[in-house]
Symmetry: C2
Subunit: 353 residues, 2 copies
């Protein structure tokens, strides 16, 4: 059984809609790279048929997905013009994909009214097929592929060396735990890439933006890794105060993996239909990065993670958990600010052979 952890729906103070400006920065940083990819690498002449179909995999509820889709549509339009194909300008159809439990009602209600594309919602896990064969020309996925399809099974077995006592992630954990996460990620990515290779038209492209680690750097030096450790420490504090049980913490693991460029390269190379056009780490922070704001960081993490914590611990602990996290982030701000100068997001551009 695959697990589903949607971002917070609706438009309330803890919604993803109101707390996704961090992810939006990544969209801004990657915009030029996507425009360059389309201008230099996308051969629209080889696409015979109208319309041009785009997909956002793990789109959540907006507004980031609308901004990204509009940039891509505009870049493709410029490409048609640049290639002297004005008379063959296609209509655009955009497929917004996320889990069935995603709040599609909110997504649809906030669709831009002036959009230049036909919009569809596609419910389902991208760890499987979503579209007919050879039907999509350009795919995009931002801040989604780091979610595993499920917690690796070994982590749920008390007698396994991968039993992750007192922690909620592989950051700072024993090697067996890291291995279990990596194996699950490799399994998921193999399925993901194989499905996308079937769905893309020949010459079609896919852009992935994924929270990631530089080669050879442990998760404990990465801002996300550090924050997962702080979340784990907050939970252990609450267990010590008797608010939850230690057993609950022991049996909980965040199904999130931080890949390295090396790991991603190896995984793509196993797929015979896709080739890497570009892969590099980028830094989504504004330059120079300002000081860390604990409350803001905690709100951003809460919009994405509340569901997975509430499912396991109940929703009663959520306010307190993220309040504690906010304080711990401020205490660790020096460590967080100095982490990962090489960039915390991996930009990957693939082409369908």
């Amino acid at each position: 059984m695959q697990q589903s952890f949607p971002m917070n729906g609706g438009d309330g103070p803890h919604s993803y809609l109101k707390n996704s400006h961090f992810q939006r920065q990544a969209t801004i940083v990657s915009r030029t790279m996507i425009e360059e990819a389309i201008a230099k690498k996308l051969d629209v002449k080889c696409f015979s048929s109208n319309p041009f179909r785009l997909a956002d995999l793990g789109c959540s509820v907006g507004p980031n997905t609308f901004i990204a889709m509009q940039h891509i549509v505009e870049a493709v339009e410029r490409k048609y013009l640049a290639q002297g194909l004005k008379s063959e300008m296609p209509e655009f159809q955009v497929f917004f994909n996320d889990h069935v439990a995603n709040d599609f009602n909110t997504l649809f209600a906030s669709l831009p009214t002036q959009r230049r594309y036909f919009a569809c919602g596609v419910p389902g896990s991208f760890h499987g097929r979503l579209f007919p064969e050879s039907s999509i020309h350009f795919m995009f996925s931002s801040h989604a592929l780091h979610w595993l399809s499920k917690v690796p099974e070994e982590l749920l077995d008390k007698n396994s060396p991968a039993w992750n006592r007192g922690r909620i992630h592989y950051t700072s954990g024993p090697e067996e735990v890291s291995h279990a996460y990596a194996a699950q990620f490799e399994h998921d990515m193999e399925i993901f890439l194989s499905a996308r290779a079937k769905e893309l038209v020949i010459g079609g492209m896919i852009v992935l933006i994924i929270p990631a680690l530089p080669n050879g750097i442990p998760a404990s030096q990465n801002p996300f890794g550090i924050m997962f450790d702080l979340l784990g420490a907050s939970l252990m504090d609450m267990a010590k105060e008797g608010l939850i049980s230690e057993a609950e913490v022991d049996s909980f693991n965040l199904p999130i993996h931080l890949a390295s460029p090396k790991q991603m390269t190896e995984l793509v190379e196993r797929n015979e239909c896709l080739i890497i056009e570009r892969m590099e780490l980028v830094d989504p922070r504004s330059n120079p990065a300002g000081p860390i704001n604990g409350k803001e960081c905690a709100m951003f993490l809460r919009a994405g993670l509340e569901g997975v914590f509430a499912q396991h611990f109940g929703s009663g602990i959520i306010d307190q958990l993220f309040d504690r996290l906010s304080k711990k982030i401020m205490e660790s701000s020096h460590q967080l600010e100095s982490g990962n100068k090489e960039g915390t997001l991996l930009f990957v551009l693939l082409r369908r052979k």
Copy 2:
């Protein structure tokens, strides 16, 4: 501005999901007619490309739409086999369309897990374009096209002869009111048919199932017309008791039109790209039709109409309105049971030239 009146969402006791067995009967009655249309009239050899794309326009939240879509997919599969095209069997993609305000979250959560198609939701009014040009092979719309895109404007003008005092529908009203409804329906259908003609591939088909009247029969002899009159009478009773004001009733009109085969034929013939393959009235009731159950009828009408009444009168009156309707239906059961022997639903099969 177009108006939107979604069926009741969710899965509660008044939801469309739980109160749409009446519409389901129509799906059962029309099943054979759709299968015949696909077997005899659909030329799948002229469809060059994989996949086969279907759309349900005004799908609401299920389960009726899932039943209808599955029947169509199965009939098309049989057609490919019958034409010796087993090796060219396409993948299927189904587009579930309804207003933005439709409860797509419930629709997606109840999608059959064993479906043989890729599913998409398409938010937006079918009184306008929904899909790229030449991209859909088969369209279906049941119990949806009788909704007008808005209440005709003349009805909102106190000084117009079409001011509909003391009634909520053109049934039993003056000729000017009927004319205003008919003109709005013609305008809406022209836009609907023109959009569909653009979206269908050549040889593609569309099945419409619409609450309708036999030629030359007034709405006051039709079960729907009678029930709209009973709803109007219930509201007037409530106004006399001071629960609402008469002015509120005067300014409210149900944006629903009951077309005749003659009217539909004329409208389709105005469109140069579509031809009528079949059009006939059918009776959705089981045979022999059992006695009318007032409560069941009222529940079925409530699931579809609660939204439009609540928007105008406030949700406080809804329980009482439909309780009163239920009683009035029982008092008029003889009149309702004897109405429209020729059938109350119009089955229309169109083909894209």
